[in-house]
């Protein structure tokens, strides 16, 4: 390694004195939404979460109106729990890893716009209810069926190659970015990429293979895999870089193989 110039990150050289946050507000599910704008002093290393914490401490709009503190979800702040997902400057992503410098560099302005994900019930302000995603994991039986949790020694031999491939799927934190970006997902008509990828994760496992039929069945109903329109938005927005389109392709293949040869197993 002789040079590391390629990893020098572009920095925001002339930051504004203050940054504006235009935030979509909603009192509760079903209520009408409206926008409020807040302003906080610029600091280096700010991310969207620390800006929201600032605003929460003293919720006064740019017009000087005292208002309620914005509500949002946050937990790990390391982009590994998925809870703080929202739509930031039109793009769905985690708010903890959304650095203000990067946002301003990209927009060229001094305003950051925050809205809740639109494909899930909006509990209040930026908080949404994604429990449906966990129901989808039940539908595809995304687990290994064990004989029991008592000591039965190690699992099957697995090549490192397969372990690494499964790991890439297993990093899914159920954040919902793929569903937000998917033009087919909405109104319960399509189970979406995350559940398909999780089914694939277990279909690939030497033990998990035993239940491949059950998992594929979960993907062959009205809301199943055939609803995928191949827009490929999911793979572009996945913060974990999960090969979602590959999972959909390979699961489709598994279903075809199963349909063709399934009767042989009877």
């Amino acid at each position: 390694m002789t040079t590391n110039a390629h990893i020098e990150k572009k920095r925001l050289d002339n930051p504004p004195a203050s940054i504006k946050f235009k935030i979509q507000r909603r009192e509760k599910e079903g209520a009408a939404s409206h926008w409020e704008t807040f302003e906080i002093p610029y600091r280096r290393n700010l991310n969207v979460i620390s800006a929201l914490m600032d605003i929460r401490k003293n919720p006064v709009t740019i017009e000087g109106k005292q208002t309620t503190p914005p509500v949002w979800d946050m937990s790990c702040l390391e982009q590994v729990c998925g809870i703080c997902t929202m739509v930031i400057d039109g793009k769905v992503r985690q708010s903890c890893s959304a650095l203000i410098d990067d946002l301003l560099l990209a927009s060229g302005g001094d305003t950051v716009t925050l809205a809740p994900m639109s494909k899930f019930p909006n509990v209040r302000d930026l908080k949404v209810d994604r429990s449906k995603m966990f129901d989808h994991l039940k539908q595809v039986e995304a687990w290994i069926e064990l004989d029991g949790t008592y000591d039965l020694g190690p699992g099957p031999h697995v090549t490192n190659e397969l372990a690494q491939e499964r790991y890439s799927y297993s990093r899914c934190m159920t954040c919902g970015c793929c569903l937000e970006a998917c033009p087919q997902y909405g109104d319960d008509n399509y189970i979406g990429p995350q559940a398909i990828a999780q089914a694939h994760l277990f279909n690939m496992h030497p033990t998990g293979k035993a239940n491949i039929d059950d998992r594929l069945n979960g993907l062959m109903g009205d809301d199943g895999i055939t609803n995928c329109g191949n827009a490929q938005n999911c793979i572009k927005v996945c913060p974990m870089g999960i090969p979602l389109t590959k999972a959909i392709y390979e699961t489709n293949r598994d279903i075809t193989v199963n349909a063709l040869f399934g009767w042989l197993k009877k």
């Binding site: 390694m1 990893i7 919720p59 039940k138 697995v158 690494q164």
Partner: protein, 595 residues
Amino acid sequence: MASSGLKIAIVGGGLAGLAAAMKIAEAGHEVDLISVVPVKRSHSVCAQGGINGAVNTKGEGDSPAKHLDDTVYGGDFLANQPPVKRMTDMAPEIIYLFDRMGVPFSRTKEGLMDFRRFGGTLHHRTAFSGASTGQQLLYALDEQVRRYETTGKVTKYEGWEMLSLVLDDHQVCRGLVAMNLQTLELKSFAADAVIMATGGPGLIFGKSTNSMTCTGSATSACYQQGARYANGEFIQVHPTSIPGEDKLRLMSESARGEGGRVWVPRNPTDARKPKEIPDAERWYFLEEKYPAYGNLVPRDIATREIFQVCLEGHGVGGENQVYLDLTHIPADVLTERLGAILEIYEMFVGDDPRYVPMRIFPGVHYSMGGLWVDFEQRTNIPGLFAAGECDYSIHGANRLGANSLVSCVYGGFVAAPSAIDYAKNMERGSTETNGIHAAELKKQQGINDGIIANEGGENQYKLHEEMGKVMTDNVTVVRYNDRLKATDEKLLELQERFKNISINDSNLWATQAVPHARQLANMLNLARVITLGALNRNESRGAHYKPDFPERDDENFMKTTIAEYSEEAPILSYEPVDVSLVEPRKRDYSSGKKK
């Protein structure tokens, strides 16, 4: 499977809580699982480096007995040894169970599980799944528990926060009261036993490596209702974290386990870029002082050394930071074995650690202390159990890296049968339980109503910041008695001012103001336990270091600190430590371990 009629409530859906839930459901009993966040988003996801178990697949002669020795030695002989032995004996089968659940552990060429080195040991004992092992283990349990959800054995209450226990006239735990974080509705959960698995209290220090859910609020509530809190003063400060505005992000010990080296320029005014500084002009101070363990000394030691180096003006650029350098390792190896954590660094700092040394500094990370439990994970309140970081039992005065994941699962696996056994044998259906749930609900509702009605003008988030600052300044790496006393006075002042907070949110639907106020009140109580425990312990042991008392004092302090709640101040007492298995000896990591 027919229902046994037994119901056990578990508070917390991280590794320990899910481990217990899985075992109880498998045994055919019912579980109510209460969690502030969807369980898949629990703080266990943040654990990075791996899980320890002496499987000895590397021909190094490792054994559970050596794992026991490393753990109690690393913990500076403050842990009761029998439960540590039971854990290290169980560790290999725990790892194998996760392997069977489909966790994508990194593998060897032969297709076996791979193991790496971690701090405080000379053996390759740490199984890992990339550098997001906690996430992978949590997901495996999440999947198993979801399966039991579909069979009706487990009912999840996600988005509910526990406020208090329901105790009967004999101080027996009969359930708990929790608050729905969307509606603020209170509900009492009747249970034959309750298992606390609520993790650590990092948020007491304001910024830490912990998730925003790690307030210690629920454990503090138990303490205030009579549960004993043990070794509260033992707070682990992780040597390597990435300072941030909102939190201190963890940089895993696995970075050093894979060969990462800690250094500063020999000349503190050296302004060259790190890669331009030749080896001879770098001070690898851990390797120099601890030739045997080098960069893999236990965390308390690494933290103090880094802290001291910066205090003496040797920090990079004169600031509180040192280099953690991986750039001598091939980039593709780093990507495969550490990818997830290197991404975190790059995402938040902007430099790629495969090519540029990271700049890091210690940050509050873990509580060795917690609810007192006996060797069967029973607290002193009948019917109340605890497991995971919220119990004190395994790590003594300092936790070794990659021992937390195994202790969480171990705690859950022991608490579950212990709670079942208790529930089977308890006297049930007694008339005494009538009315106690309603009374506790009323009491808790009254506290909420008081908070909502209050308009004293104090800002709770500012109070939280003040608490975090005073605790970080005075109750972390280096402790002095005068400052600890001043800290307690400050905490008392904050408790007074807390009575005058205004919640500043007129919309109570899904408000974060009321839950945060409840948490803050509880955190202040626990902060006093931590501070006064530290004040009273006049010695240095593990993570607890007093320059005025630099030596370990086994005669007076090889004892567990027990704090019991009273209105005025925690009442402290001391209990002997069971050192029946490994004879205490002085810690020395400069050479190989002395026997």
